[in-house]
């Protein structure tokens, strides 16, 4: 499996994905000047912009790398030669996932360091009354990375059943969009105001979707990082447990489906 992780990372670097990230990261240079447009919240805005940019880049990576990694191997017939080696399909899948995960961590670290430098620059030019809590910033980055690692799991699961890249790519995007609102929708349908508006059938459907679709709202700690609000560690513990359980279910499902897949 370690060799598969190595091959995955080599493929990503040689396809010049990291160069693309470096090119995109030039945008970080504009953060201090863009943040200065805000009269009183320069530091806060620079944190917001930095975290949003990191989040956007990680989203692109998780959707496109996650969705095309396995699909491309099957489309280009690499799987015929690799899966005929003494490698279990589950190991192969897990190797791919771990490779992508490592790349996301690497990218997140690189972009995180860049973001910290830019936030420091912004705050030194326009000092804020509120001190920057760097540990919260790191925690936010960590949970953002976990969120996109989970999304890679969704993309890989969809890749194992699809014969084209449409389902993995658009399915992952849909899952991501839905994951941000499932919590709100769930809370709404069970609120007293929705008691008469929502039928029991809809409630059941929403509940089923709430548990089936990923819920990524708990991974968002941006507000804590921006305003220096201490994190609720019990809540974070639940989020980490959710990440581990949901990712394990995704990968387990992906492994079962991939093992059953016929390499025609």
């Amino acid at each position: 499996m370690i060799t598969i992780i190595g091959i995955t990372l080599k493929g990503i670097f040689r396809d010049r994905v990291f160069q693309g990230i470096i090119a995109l990261s030039v945008l970080f240079l504009f953060i201090p000047s863009a943040a200065s447009l805000s009269m009183r919240q320069v530091t806060e805005l620079s944190i917001t912009l930095s975290l949003s940019l990191i989040s956007f880049i990680l989203l692109l990576l998780s959707v496109f790398l996650g969705a095309t990694s396995l699909w491309r191997d099957m489309e280009r017939r690499y799987t015929f030669s690799v899966l005929s080696l003494p490698i279990g399909r589950s190991s192969y899948l897990l190797g791919r996932f771990m490779g992508l995960t490592l790349f996301l961590i690497l990218t997140s670290t690189f972009l995180g360091v860049l973001a910290c430098v830019m936030i420091k620059v912004s705050s030194s030019i326009y000092p804020s009354d509120r001190p920057i809590v760097w540990s919260l910033l790191v925690l936010t980055l960590l949970f953002t990375t976990l969120k996109y690692i989970l999304l890679v799991g969704v993309a890989l699961l969809l890749s194992t059943v699809s014969t084209s890249f449409f389902l993995p790519i658009f399915g992952t995007i849909c899952a991501f969009l839905a994951s941000g609102v499932t919590q709100q929708v769930y809370e709404f349908v069970y609120s007293p105001s929705a008691e008469k508006l929502v039928s029991p059938l809809i409630k059941m459907l929403v509940t089923a979707l709430y548990y089936f679709l990923p819920n990524l709202s708990g991974f968002d700690l941006k507000v804590n990082a921006i305003y220096g609000i201490p994190a609720n560690f019990t809540g974070l513990g639940v989020t980490v447990a959710y990440f581990v359980a949901y990712t394990a279910i995704l990968l387990g499902g992906a492994a079962i489906l991939f093992n059953r897949r016929e390499m025609k």
């Binding site: 060799t3 091959i7 080599k10 493929g11 040689r14 396809d15 280009r76 017939r77 690499y78 799987t79 015929f80 030669s81 899966l83 005929s84 080696l85 003494p86 490698i87 279990g88 059953r260 016929e262 390499m263 025609k264």
Partner: protein, 287 residues
């Protein structure tokens, strides 16, 4: 224990409008260790399906296959096999050297041995100069040679080659034939599919002909060629020195030799006139 065993192997695919396509119908076959077996059949006969089932890339509808006694569904069955898929494709962002080393590492080869073997096989396949280049810049023939190199690197006992001569120039084809003959000398089992009868005639011990998913015949190449003898071309020289080429029927050779000797004619050359493997193949498939 046979190197390859195929027992009642059936494979159905679902076609358009849920129609059932029987790609393989109860295939039974055994290939011994040290044997070179040619799997002949026209396009779409079921050769590649059989090989994919053997390598665990497809799951059989019914029946089973084994490599060195281990069922193909198990990863362990692939630990002593070198497999070349049809029209192979490898991670094109890797160089040939990196890929061969990757394959060797999957078979648990020790680093020093792997480095030595990688050099050997790349040199043998005439890829040494290009070893550092990414495979995305390789020609089809070069990729095919990488495919053969990766089957050889870990020195397995069984080789499963799907159309190994495909995409190769005459020099490459001759090289593959040499390699197969060399493997035969080393006592390795080679199971290869082809639709080129000449390849089979030159390198195989036995041949199986498959068409429409059914194995029609399995026989030794020697038997097939022997059975195909239709007559002989005999060159005689009379006492006056006149050369004459005669066509002699299959059962009349002894009589012709005796008569020639009685007439003081010397026999310069006897050549058998036989149906070749291609004629045999066409005859079987046309049945």
């Amino acid at each position: 224990m046979n190197a390859i065993e195929i027992i009642g192997l059936c494979k159905n695919f679902t076609g358009k409008r849920m129609t059932k396509i029987e790609a393989l119908k109860g295939l039974n076959l055994e290939v011994a260790r040290g044997e070179v077996f040619g799997f002949l059949g026209p396009n779409g006969a079921g050769k590649s399906t059989t090989i994919k089932l053997l390598m665990g890339l497809l799951k059989p509808t019914t029946g089973l296959s084994r490599i060195m006694g281990v069922e193909s569904s198990q990863t362990l069955s692939r630990t002593n096999v070198g497999f070349l898929p049809e029209n192979p494709a490898f991670y094109d962002y890797l160089s040939a050297e990196e890929y061969i080393k990757f394959v060797g590492s999957q078979f648990g080869m020790e680093a020093n041995l792997l480095a030595t073997r990688t050099e050997e096989v790349l040199k043998r396949m005439d890829l040494w100069e290009a070893r550092k280049r990414h495979m995305r810049g390789y020609s089809k023939g070069m990729v095919q040679r990488v495919g053969l190199a990766q089957t050889l690197v870990h020195d397995p006992d069984v080789y499963v080659l799907d159309e190994p001569m495909s995409g190769l120039d005459p020099i490459g084809r001759a090289l593959v034939k040499d390699i197969i003959l060399d493997l035969k000398k080393q006592g390795k089992c080679v199971f290869f599919s082809t639709h080129i009868t000449d390849d089979v005639e030159k390198v195989c011990d036995r041949v199986g002909v498959i068409n429409n998913g059914q194995l029609l015949v399995v026989d030794s190449v020697t038997n097939i060629l022997q059975r195909g003898i239709e007559g002989y071309s005999v060159l005689t020289i009379s006492p006056e020195g006149v050369q004459e080429e005669n066509y002699v029927g299959k059962d009349e050779l002894q009589f012709f030799i005796q008569r020639s000797l009685q007439n003081n004619q010397s026999i310069e050359k006897i050549e058998s006139r036989s149906k070749d493997m291609e004629a045999f193949f066409l005859e079987i498939v046309a049945r």
